[in-house]
């Protein structure tokens, strides 16, 4: 079976990396290959890394309130680079009103504080296996 590669990225200037690192660790323990970008990545850098590392899914961690602008920019760039089929997950401090807005932008899943790691792992599996089976058919 293919070993999926996941990019966990911290876009913008936000320095809160506890969640990103914990999620990265859990995904690794669940058998995924995980690449963590570190802090202060521009959307351009993130998309570039996603292409270079040939990842299957991108997780953005944003706790600074800039989630709408940053997610939008990442997804726009992904479209421009022709990698829009890679699903994007967003986690962080996301006001409830902004969740539908993120989904509309093209984010696949949004996770707020208190989300169990098991749920994140499960949804990553579901989305990736969904993606994989469609591309096979």
């Amino acid at each position: 079976m293919k070993k999926y590669r996941i990019l966990i990225a911290k876009p913008g200037l936000d320095g809160h990396d506890r969640g990103a690192k914990v999620v990265a660790h859990a995904l690794r323990d669940a058998g995924f290959e995980v690449i963590y970008t570190g802090l202060r990545q521009t959307p351009e850098q993130i998309v570039k890394t996603a292409i270079q590392e040939d990842v299957d899914l991108i997780g953005l961690s944003i706790l600074s309130g800039a989630h709408l602008q940053l997610s939008k920019k990442v997804i726009e760039l992904m479209k421009k680079e022709g990698i829009a089929s890679i699903p994007v997950f967003v986690g962080g401090i996301i006001p409830p009103d902004d969740v539908p807005k993120l989904l509309e932008i093209g984010v696949a899943r949004v996770f707020g504080p208190g989300t169990p790691l098991s749920k994140i792992v499960q949804e990553v599996r579901e989305v990736l296996e969904g993606v994989a089976s469609t591309s096979e058919s």
Binding site: L13, G15, D17, H25, R28, G38, K73, P95, P96
Partner: protein
């Protein structure tokens, strides 16, 4: 504190009781096999004089206000003056935050605490490409002296004390604050307040570093030196365990890594020729208050004793004022839940009570909606009222260190202290904190603890009410989450463009040139930053000059 005969009798009684417990347990087992603290050590079933039989009152506790300050840094504590109620606030533009400050002061808050947005914290002007979407988000946007003048408009800086959460650009904000105060007619020597200025924890827990550790430490000691001479009432640093705790450390690690940072600052300052008896008076600390009530109270009491010993024994400090650990506390942001958010009011109250029983000098209480976004005026009011209820209704402020002598609390205080010394020895053996950070040791310890805590929640070993137990099917969404108007970013940029046109650009260029020269020559840069700030050089311009001289830090991305 007990004679031998008494202890023998207590021991006999304890043994008897223990035997009865063992037999009871067969029929009525306890809720859990082990009861563990947040730091992983086991709580005993019941503490007795046997657990504190070695305690020497005068040596280990002392009277309040006396070495080793376990019982508090003042003789009368809150009977004299209550702690400073200081809510961290800031968002949008200076004009908006100025309104929030005035609201808080009018509500009975007694000190100010400024939150800056990320571009300000990382040395970018609001029109820098990396600032896009971040202007005014997590704090107020500051580009130049002009913004600070607006921020404190109508607030007499000679009368209030102001805390500023600012680190890698602390020297710039301190200068802007001081210049604004002088313009208001205040004298530098009468200004009271704090700059966080704790760069080491930025590398391990908070992430707003700019320069590599070495030049960063140089700026920190420049500020120590400048303030010792010109701003004696100013706390030149707030050595912070708060963010270390929030990043995942436990209570013991919070103290251990904070003091390891503190030792590094003191050593750097001594190396720069400064006297710890003098600059030591201006060091302050910042801790978190989390949910484990007794452990947290014990932590604060242990902290004072450890710091007093470090300063006296390690650094041979004799000035009493430089031995006292004075600290600010904030309730634990990471303990807030997005689920059933009103429950957070109760968590905050318990945490705030621990801080007060632990003898804090100032306190920020979180608002219940902060796991969802920025707090509203209403939620901030509840948070502030929580402090006022503790202060005026609970009675706990009327007796100094009222829990001293509790068998459990004194035993926990000792235990935490012991474990902190173990960590400090380990860090010394690695070559000190700067080295331990470079090696990634501290980051790994924090991450390991964060991951273990999360796993404990996943397995249900740690209950979080509303999250992994007692969930409700339908969540009532919190209304009125504060939104920062995206138009403010444009407004801020517009004002910045205007400033650049209207100021004396020749004076700016000149001041920046002199600053660069001073930084290159290793001079104390503070007076040069003052001059640059006075002619309205921007925060980004000043930071760029320093970036050119000092270089930039990049973190390792290993998990």
């Amino acid at each position: 504190m007990y004679d031998k005969e008494q202890l023998r009798r207590i021991f006999d009684a304890f043994e008897q009781w223990q035997a009865q417990v063992e037999s009871d347990l067969k029929k009525y087992p306890e809720r859990k096999e082990k009861f563990v603290s947040s730091s992983g050590y086991e709580f005993k079933r019941c503490y007795t004089p046997l657990d504190v039989s070695e305690l020497d009152y005068l040596k280990d506790l002392g009277m309040p206000g006396d070495y080793p300050y376990t019982r508090g840094v003042q003789r009368t504590m809150y009977r004299g003056r209550l702690w400073t109620m200081r809510q961290y606030a800031g968002f949008g533009t200076a004009e908006e935050t100025n309104k929030r400050f005035k609201y808080l002061l009018q509500q009975g808050q007694t000190g100010l605490s400024v939150a800056f947005d990320l571009p300000t914290q990382i040395g970018y002007d609001s029109d820098h490409p990396l600032a896009e979407g971040e202007v005014g988000r997590v704090g107020v946007a500051v580009d130049s002296l002009k913004d600070i003048e607006t921020l404190f408009d109508g607030i007499p800086l000679k009368d209030v004390s102001t805390s500023m959460t600012i680190n890698s650009t602390a020297v710039i904000l301190l200068s802007m604050y001081a210049v604004t105060a002088e313009k208001q007619g205040a004298k530098l020597e009468e200004l009271r307040g704090t700059i966080q200025n704790d760069i080491l924890k930025e590398y391990i827990a908070r992430g707003t570093y700019i320069f590599p550790p070495e030049p960063s430490m140089k700026i920190v000691t420049d500020i120590f030196e400048f303030c010792a001479q010109h701003m004696p009432k100013w706390n030149t640093i707030s050595i912070s365990g708060y963010h270390i705790r929030e990043a995942g450390a436990n209570a013991v690690q919070e103290l251990a890594f904070t003091f390891a940072d503190a030792v590094a600052y003191v050593e750097a300052a001594i190396k720069a020729g400064l006297d710890p008896n003098v600059f030591g008076r201006q060091l302050s600390f910042f801790f978190a208050a989390h949910n484990n009530f007794l452990e947290e109270i014990a932590k604060f009491r242990a902290a004072r004793r450890i710091w007093a010993k470090i300063m006296k024994e390690r650094f041979k400090v004799t000035n009493q004022e430089a031995l006292r650990l004075r600290f600010h506390t904030q309730t634990g942001g990471s303990t807030l839940t997005a689920q059933q958010p009103l429950n957070n009011i109760v968590r905050v109250a318990i945490q705030a009570l621990a801080a007060v029983l632990g003898g804090t000098q100032s306190l920020h209480t979180n608002s219940f909606d902060e796991a969802l976004g920025l707090p509203t005026e209403q939620s901030v009011q509840v948070a502030l009222r929580t402090q006022q209820i503790i202060a005026y209704e609970s009675g706990v402020a009327d007796i100094v260190d009222p829990l001293a002598g509790s068998f459990a609390l004194e035993a926990l205080t000792n235990q935490i202290e012991e474990k902190v010394w173990e960590y400090l020895q380990k860090i010394d053996s690695l070559g000190g904190m700067v080295r331990a950070i470079e090696l990634g040791y501290v980051q790994k310890e924090i991450h390991k603890s964060a991951y273990e805590q999360q796993l404990a929640i996943e397995k249900g070993e740690q209950i979080v009410v509303g999250v992994n137990a007692f969930q409700t099917k339908e969540e009532r969404p919190v209304e009125n989450i504060l939104k920062v108007d995206p138009a403010l970013e444009e407004k801020q940029k517009q004002a910045l463009r205007q400033l650049r046109e209207q100021r004396d650009n020749r004076a700016v260029a000149n001041a920046l040139k002199e600053l660069k020269q001073a930084a290159k020559e290793g001079k104390n840069i503070v007076p040069y930053v003052f001059e640059a700030v006075k002619c309205y050089a921007t925060l980004g311009e000043i930071s760029d000059v320093l970036r050119e001289v000092y270089g930039e830090y990049t973190e390792s991305t290993s998990i």
